[in-house]
C-alpha cells in the first residue's frame, strides 16, 4: 500500500493520534498539537537527528528515539515530556551554552534566537558546566553577510539548505568533535567563495546569531524563516 494512504494510530502523551504511515513522530505530534522541542530540524530540508532535543520515549524501546527521524508505527505509545527527557534537554542546552560563546546581551539575534527561546522554555537560568570559551574567528569578508563561529551550534541547517534547496553546496563541515566548524568552499573566506550565490538562505535559517545580515544588525527582525515553507509548497514538496 502507498505509505501516504496508509493510516497508523498511535498514542502521543496519552492522546490518541492518527498519522500517515510515512510521517515521523515529530510530524504526527505537531499535527496533533503536541510540542516537541527541536533545534537542528528545519521544515523544508532533510533531517539528520543530530541535536537530540527531540528525543522521546517510546514504550517497549529501551532507547530514546529522535522524533524527527523516527517513523510512526501502529500502536506506538510516545512520551514527549518525561522528567528524564526534560532533564536531558536542559543538559543539552547547557552543553551548547558552555561549548562556545553565547552571550545574548551582545548578540545580533537577541530576541530572535532559537537557542535562547529553547533555554527560556526550559527555564534555564544558569549553566552548571564550565564555559569553554574557545577562541574562534568571525568571517566578515562577504559583502552582505557575516559568520560568527562563536555563536554556531553546528546544527548544519546552513549546510543543508545550501545544498538541498539552493543547490550551491557552498557550506560544509570540517574538523572533528569540538573542533568541528562550518566552512565555505574549501575553508576560505566567505567573500572569496566561488560557489556562493549570495542568496542568503543560510542566514535566514540559522537558529542563532552565527550567520547574520550586516544591515539587519540591531533591528527587531534579524531573520525571516518563513520563506522555506512557501518555497517548498511552490516546488511541489510535501513538507
Amino acid at each position: 500500500m502507498n505509505p501516504a494512504a496508509e493510516v497508523k494510530t498511535l498514542v502521543i502523551d496519552e492522546m490518541d493520534v492518527s498519522a500517515r504511515a510515512d510521517q515521523t513522530i515529530l510530524e504526527a505530534a505537531r499535527d496533533a498539537g503536541a510540542w516537541i522541542p527541536t533545534l537542528c530540524h528545519l521544515d523544508g530540508v532533510g533531517d539528520i537527528g543530530a541535536c537530540r532535543m527531540c528525543l522521546v520515549e517510546v514504550k517497549g524501546s529501551n532507547r530514546l528515539l529522535p522524533a524527527c527521524v523516527t517513523r510512526v508505527e501502529e500502536g506506538m505509545a510516545v512520551t514527549t515530556h518525561s522528567e528524564r527527557l526534560v532533564k536531558y534537554r536542559r543538559m543539552i542546552l547547557e552543553l551548547l551554552f558552555a561549548e562556545r560563546n553565547h552571550v545574548c546581551a551582545v548578540c545580533v539575534a537577541n530576541g530572535a534566537c532559537e537557542l535562547q527561546t529553547l533555554a527560556q522554555l526550559h527555564g534555564l537560568d544558569h549553566v552548571q558546566f564550565p564555559y569553554r570559551f574557545p577562541a574562534l574567528p568571525v568571517d566578515g569578508s562577504h559583502e552582505r553577510f557575516s559568520m560568527d563561529h562563536n555563536r554556531c551550534v553546528l546544527c548544519t541547517r546552513c549546510v543543508r539548505v545550501c545544498g538541498e534547496v539552493e543547490g550551491a553546496h557552498t557550506w560544509d563541515l570540517m574538523g572533528r568533535g569540538v573542533h568541528s566548524r562550518v566552512i565555505t568552499d574549501l575553508s576560505q573566506p566567505w567573500g572569496t567563495s566561488e560557489t556562493c550565490t549570495s542568496c542568503g538562505k543560510c542566514v535566514q535559517v540559522c537558529p542563532t546569531g552565527a550567520l547574520f545580515e550586516k544591515n539587519k544588525v540591531g533591528t527587531k527582525l534579524p531573520k525571516s524563516r518563513d520563506f522555506l515553507m512557501h518555497l517548498s509548497v511552490m516546488r511541489g514538496g510535501d513538507r
Partner: protein, 547 residues
C-alpha cells in the same frame, strides 16, 4: 577452478615445500617487523645461499608471541626461536634440521601455546601471506567451493546460523541472523562490506589477521556474498595499516588471477569482486553507518538507525557489514561444519575469540582462545601474569567502549554476556592488563580524551559532553575537583550514554562508569586527599613515589 584443480595446486605446493628441504620462517607481521625482522630475513637468506644444506627462508605472518619478537621458526620440527638478531642467522641456518639452538629456543610447551585454539589464526605464522598457493595448500578456498557448488545460499546462511557465530566487531550480533536479513531483502544490487577500521587503543587482531592470512578474509567475504546475493564487496581498511593494505592488494590480485574472484567464480553463475577502500584516519568510521558514508565518498559521520544497513546501506542498497574476524571465521565453519564450530565455546557465545593481549603482562601478543575461558586463565596462564612482581589491578577490554575489570571478577568466563554484566564489553578484542602503577582515574581520562578527539561532532551530547567529561576528569586528576564535579561527571555519563546518536557516544561513558564502579575510592582519594596512590597524577599534594 574446480575442487580437483584446487587440490592439484595444493598437492603441488606441498610437494614443492617438502622437496625444498628445511624452512626457516621469519615473522613479517607488524610486531616483529617493528623489530626489524626484515633485516633478519635478509641476513638469513644470505646465509642460506652460502650454506650447502638445502634450506629455504620464508616470510610468514604473526606467530603470536609478539613480545619475544622477532620470532623465527624452523620447519619441519616446529622449533621456535625468540628475540632473534641478524647476527644469529649463521647459527640458525647451520642448525636447521639438526640440534636446535638452546640459547634462542622458545619452548612450545608453555601455556601460551598449549592453551590456545586456533581457528581464525590457524594459518597465522605458518604460511607466506603473499602466496595464494600456500593458503590453498592449507585447505584454503575449499569451504568456498563447497558452498558454491554443493550448497544453496539459504543453506549457507543456515550453516552460519547453526554455528552460533556472533559478530566479532564487539556487539555480538548473531551473524547468521544478519546474513539472513540481507539475503531476504528484495534487491538486484547488494553489497558486502568488511570492516577493517580497527582503531581501539590496544587492539591489533584484525591487523594481524589481514597481514598474516589475507586470503582467509577474502574467502569469508565471497561466501557471504554468495549467501546474501551480493556481487560486490568492499574492504574498508584504515590507512594506518599500510602492510595489511599491500598484502590485501596482492591477495586480491592473486585470487582474481586464479578465478576465485571475479566473473563466474569456479565456473558457477556466481560473480563477486572485492575492492579495497582506504579509511582516512577517523575512528568513528568503524561505526557502520559512518563507514558506509565514507565508502560513498562522504564525510564519515554516523546517521540514525533505522534504517539499518541491512535494509539501506551503501547507496541505499541492502548491505552486509561484518568485521574482519567474523569473515575470517567463516571459511572454517563452512569447511568443517557448523556442529564442529558450535561445540566450542559457551552456550550463548560459540567458537573462539582472538585477543590482543598487551600491557603489564609477561607474554604480550596475539592469542586465540575458546569463548568461556576465564580472564584469569588468559592473563595468568597464557599471559604469564604480571611481570616484575607487581600486583594485578585491572584488565581493560573493549577499548573506549569497554571498561576495566578488577581482580575479584577474574574467574568470570569471557563471553559477550558476562563481560557486559561486569560493565565492560567483549569489544573487538583488545585486552590491556594494568598493574598497581596505573591510576584508574587517569585511565578513564585517557579513554575520554580518545573519545573527545574521535567524536565526529555531529550530535551535541557526544561532541560537547565528552569535552566536558574530559574537563572534569582532568580536574580530578589534577586535584582541582570537588564532589560537585564528580556529581556532574556522573550525570553527564548518564546523559551522554542515553542521548548520543551512535555507539561511540553511547559507550563513551563506559570507561568512567566501570572505574567508578570498582575504583570509586581512587576517585575520592584524588578529590578529598589530593592523592594518587599509583603516583601517576600530580594532585598537588605529595604524590606517592613509585615504589
Amino acid at each position: 577452478m574446480t575442487l580437483e584443480e584446487l587440490e592439484r595446486i595444493a598437492a603441488g605446493t606441498k610437494n614443492a615445500r617438502a622437496a625444498g628441504g628445511h624452512e626457516v620462517n621469519v615473522c613479517l607481521a607488524a610486531g616483529c617487523l617493528s623489530q626489524h625482522s626484515d633485516a633478519l630475513k635478509e641476513a638469513l637468506e644470505k646465509e642460506a645461499r652460502k650454506a650447502s644444506a638445502s634450506c629455504r627462508v620464508r616470510g610468514t605472518g604473526c606467530m603470536g608471541l609478539c613480545s619475544a619478537g622477532p620470532l623465527v621458526s624452523v620447519e619441519p620440527g616446529g622449533v621456535l626461536y625468540r628475540n632473534v638478531k641478524p647476527e644469529d642467522a649463521p647459527a640458525i641456518v647451520r642448525s636447521a634440521g639438526g640440534e636446535p639452538l638452546r640459547r634462542l629456543q622458545c619452548s612450545r610447551d608453555q601455556a601460551f601455546f598449549q592453551r590456545q585454539v586456533h581457528i581464525v589464526t590457524e594459518n597465522s605464522g605458518k604460511l607466506d601471506p603473499e602466496k595464494i598457493e600456500e593458503y590453498i595448500a592449507a585447505d584454503g578456498y575449499k569451504g568456498m567451493i563447497r558452498a558454491l557448488t554443493e550448497m544453496t545460499p539459504a543453506a549457507v546462511v543456515q550453516e552460519i546460523s547453526r554455528s552460533g557465530l556472533r559478530g566479532r566487531g564487539g556487539a555480538g550480533y548473531p551473524t547468521g541472523l544478519k546474513w539472513g536479513t540481507v539475503a531476504k531483502t528484495d534487491s538486484a544490487v547488494k553489497y558486502v562490506v568488511c570492516n577493517a577500521d580497527e582503531g581501539d587503543p590496544g587492539a591489533f587482531m584484525d591487523r594481524s589477521v589481514l597481514e598474516s592470512d589475507p586470503q582467509r578474509v577474502l574467502e569469508g567475504m565471497i561466501i557471504a556474498g554468495y549467501a546474501v546475493g551480493a556481487s560486490r564487496g568492499y574492504l574498508y581498511v584504515r590507512a594506518e595499516y599500510p602492510l595489511a593494505l599491500k598484502r590485501l592488494e596482492t591477495a586480491i590480485g592473486e585470487a582474481r588471477q586464479l578465478g576465485l574472484l571475479g566473473i563466474n567464480i569456479c565456473g558457477t553463475a556466481f560473480s563477486f569482486d572485492i575492492e579495497v577502500r582506504i579509511g582516512g584516519g577517523a575512528y568513528v568510521c568503524g561505526e557502520e553507518t559512518a563507514l558506509i558514508a565514507s565508502i560513498e565518498g562522504k564525510r564519515g559521520t554516523p546517521r540514525p538507525r533505522p534504517p539499518y544497513p541491512a535494509q539501506s546501506g551503501i547507496w541505499g542498497m541492502p548491505t552486509l557489514i561484518n568485521n574482519v574476524e567474523t569473515f575470517a571465521s567463516v571459511p572454517a565453519i563452512v569447511r568443517r561444519g557448523a556442529e564442529w564450530y558450535a561445540a566450542l565455546g559457551t552456550p550463548k557465545s560459540k567458537g573462539t575469540k582472538v585477543f590482543a593481549l598487551s600491557g603489564k603482562v609477561k607474554n604480550n601478543g596475539l592469542i586465540e582462545v575458546p569463548m568461556g575461558m576465564t580472564l584469569r586463565e588468559i592473563i595468568f596462564e597464557i599471559g604469564g601474569g604480571v611481570p616484575e612482581g607487581r600486583k594485578f589491578k585491572a584488565v581493560q577490554t573493549g577499548g573506549p567502549s569497554g571498561g576495566c575489570i578488577p581482580e575479584q571478577f577474574l574467574d568470570r568466563p569471557v563471553d559477550y554476556e558476562s563481560l557486559r554484566e561486569l560493565g565492560s564489553i567483549m569489544g573487538s578484542g583488545g585486552m590491556v592488563v594494568m598493574d598497581d602503577t596505573s591510576c584508574m582515574v587517569n585511565v578513564a581520562r585517557f579513554f575520554m580524551e580518545f573519545c573527545m578527539a574521535e567524536s565526529c561532532g555531529k550530535c551535541i551530547p557526544c561532541r560537547a559532553g565528552t569535552a566536558q567529561m574530559h574537563e572534569m576528569l582532568t580536574r580530578i586528576c589534577d586535584g582541582r575537583a570537588t564532589h560537585k564535579d564528580l556529581e556532574m561527571l556522573i550525570s553527564l555519563c548518564d546523559m551522554v550514554g542515553a542521548t548520543s546518536l551512535c555507539g561511540l557516544g553511547q559507550a563513551a561513558p563506559n570507561p568512567v562508569l566501570s572505574t567508578l564502579r570498582y575504583f570509586q575510592d581512587e576517585y575520592l582519594e584524588h578529590i578529598e586527599a589530593k592523592r594518587c596512590r599509583a603516583g601517576v597524577c600530580e594532585c598537588g599534594a605529595a604524590a606517592e613515589v613509585r615504589a
